[in-house]
């Protein structure tokens, strides 16, 4: 079966959920090989990758791979593309994943597709463009298809792969060492899942009214084990940090469930959440465009509806 490389996304050695999704996707199209780039590889990591379908695990755990911006990962993948001649390379469609894909495409003379929400036979990708208004099928026509797939495009599958390990060393070029990471600053985000990966996202907008009131949104998110998002009106006002902004100039999320409270549903906001599977809206204006997308909408005051919803969820747990 055709080998498909999957670049592992990990933080401090923890494999991210999106990687398990990519393995499931790769398994449906061929034989997945996980590519570990950077320090932190462990028996747990191996078990997780093999337990989700990885037939092979390429381990490149030299520290210096993580010491420079993006380029070392692209060099590693380019080396594997040359030696293993895979049928395709999958990466997560995060800002960094896409940058790796871009450099790899240049290095290998291959086409690249970003923000796929599905991938089928012949590596034909599904994309949703223009704020969700148009669905596109696209494919790479030259080289090895490189596809950046959005988190939550498919569900992880716990199905064992062979998990054969292969140690890989890369001799990084000077160019790959040009941008040095001298410090990593990690923000404490508590126990909440990462916004881009979360299965549930609860977002607040201008209707939330203040930074303090975002506690209501956080409480609802926590009751569902979800992440918190915000509209640009809310981040511009300084009520919630910018990295939680959902939309055209913020993050794109594709969760199973998206709850929008006090958000009107401007096209630029929709561009970041329209591919959510189920959408719930709470807004006091019955004419708010967000209701056009909502599977379930409550016309009402979020200060009444959100706490009641949170309490009811806690009660039913």
């Amino acid at each position: 079966m055709a080998e498909i490389l999957v670049l592992v996304e990990q933080l401090d050695g923890d494999v991210k959920k999106v990687t398990l999704e990519l393995l499931a996707l790769a398994r449906s199209l061929g034989s997945p090989s996980a590519v570990w780039a950077g320090p932190g590889y462990s028996a747990e990591a191996k078990a997780k990758l093999a337990g989700h379908g990885a037939d092979k695990i390429y381990v490149a755990d030299a520290a210096e791979i993580a010491d420079h911006v993006v380029a070392p990962k692209a060099e590693l993948l380019a080396q594997l593309v040359a030696s293993a001649a895979p049928a395709a390379v999958l990466v997560a469609a995060t800002a960094e994943g896409k940058e790796v894909a871009g450099r790899l495409a240049v290095k290998t003379g291959s086409g690249v597709i970003t923000d796929a929400v599905g991938l089928g036979e012949g590596f034909v990708a599904d994309q949703s463009i223009f704020g969700g208004g148009v669905n596109v099928h696209s494919r790479v026509t030259k080289g090895t298809p490189i596809v950046a797939v959005r988190p939550n495009s498919t569900a992880p599958v716990a199905e064992a792969g062979a998990g054969a390990e292969e140690q890989v060393s890369v001799a990084l070029s000077d160019a790959a060492r040009a941008a040095r990471i001298v410090e990593r600053v990690k923000q404490d985000k508590g126990a909440r899942p990462e916004l881009a990966e979360a299965a549930v996202v609860v977002s607040g907008g201008r209707g939330v009214g203040s930074a303090e009131n975002f506690a209501l949104i956080e409480r609802l998110a926590d009751s569902l084990g979800g992440a918190v998002g915000a509209s640009r009106a809310a981040t511009d006002a300084g009520w919630y940090p910018h990295q939680f902004q959902v939309g055209q100039t913020g993050k794109t999320v594709s969760p199973q469930l998206y709850i929008a409270a006090g958000i009107s549903g401007a096209i630029q906001h929709r561009a970041g959440m329209q591919t959510a599977k189920t959408i719930v809206a709470i807004n006091k204006d019955p004419e708010a465009p967000i209701f056009e997308l909502a599977d379930y909408g409550v016309v009402g005051d979020l200060f009444k509806v959100v706490p009641q919803l949170t309490d009811e969820i806690e009660k039913r747990k």
Binding site: E96, G102, Q187, Y296, Q308
Partner: protein, 259 residues
């Protein structure tokens, strides 16, 4: 310092955007062209760097002739001059061929630092800055929400999923900026008048050293197989809160197995 800021004209997100049925490329006539919003942050950052370190800001745009409106906007904000890469052969270029064409042009015009927005609102690939760094063999300093230059040393804060990285390198370099790195200035009346007199050099592909077979639709590395308007989402249930709106929503979530 020779600062080049890459600026793209995109269809206004507030108008309906379409793909052309003939060649499946963006229909640039269907919507009003505006400057890509993230490019405004790039222009502002370029101007701030010039104000702090001296030098010159050159706007670089690849796009059809109507993109001159966008060039004028960047000039009105305060950039000194512009290079407009315009050629029918470029129509339909994908990210790889665009990065090739832009890299060739940058080699032709020279630069100490190239600044871009982190993505455009039309294609949204977020690929160009990384591809340019790869093609030009210079440091990739992308997703920056802070840029500091001291002589030939450059440092940025790179936004990441977990917070940020502090990254250091030497010029020349490619930088991409995220929203909220700064507050883009509005062009003044004086700036708008002055922009009309600023030099805009147009380059065709031959002058920029671009191989025609590597660009345009025929040179693309990927293709749109087909496309269709997204089917409208099935109409949802909308209820008015009568004091039990939260409970009703919980009922719905339970029916979908979220609780």
């Amino acid at each position: 310092m020779n600062i080049v800021v890459c600026v793209k004209q995109v269809p206004d997100t507030a108008t309906e955007r379409k793909l052309r049925s003939d060649d499946k490329t963006l229909d640039r006539d269907a919507a009003d062209g505006v400057i890509n919003e993230l490019c405004e942050y790039a222009v502002e950052e370029a101007l701030l760097l010039k104000e702090a370190h001296g030098g010159e800001v050159t706007v670089l745009t690849m796009g059809p002739s109507k993109a001159t409106d966008t060039i004028r906007k960047a000039l009105a904000m305060g950039a000194d001059k512009a290079v407009h890469l315009v050629d029918d052969a470029l129509h339909g270029s994908d990210a790889l061929s665009t990065s090739y064409a832009m890299a060739q042009t940058l080699k032709t015009i020279g630069f100490d630092v190239v600044i871009l927005g982190s993505e455009s609102t039309d294609a949204r690939t977020g690929l160009l800055a990384a591809m340019l760094a790869e093609r030009l063999g210079v440091p990739q300093l992308t997703q920056a929400n802070k840029v500091d230059i001291d002589g030939t040393a450059i440092a940025i804060q790179r936004l990441t999923d977990y917070g940020h990285d502090k990254v250091e390198a030497s010029l020349p370099a490619v930088v991409s900026v995220v929203e909220k790195i700064n507050e883009p200035r509005y062009p003044s009346f004086k700036g708008i008048m002055a922009a009309k007199k600023k030099p805009v050099q147009t380059l065709g592909i031959a002058e920029a050293g671009i191989d025609a077979s590597q660009v345009g639709l025929a040179g693309a590395w990927s293709e749109v197989v087909d496309f269709a308007a997204a089917p409208p989402r099935a109409a949802g249930t909308i209820v008015t809160d009568q004091g039990d709106g939260g409970t009703g929503a919980a009922e719905f979530l339970a029916s979908k197995k979220f609780i």
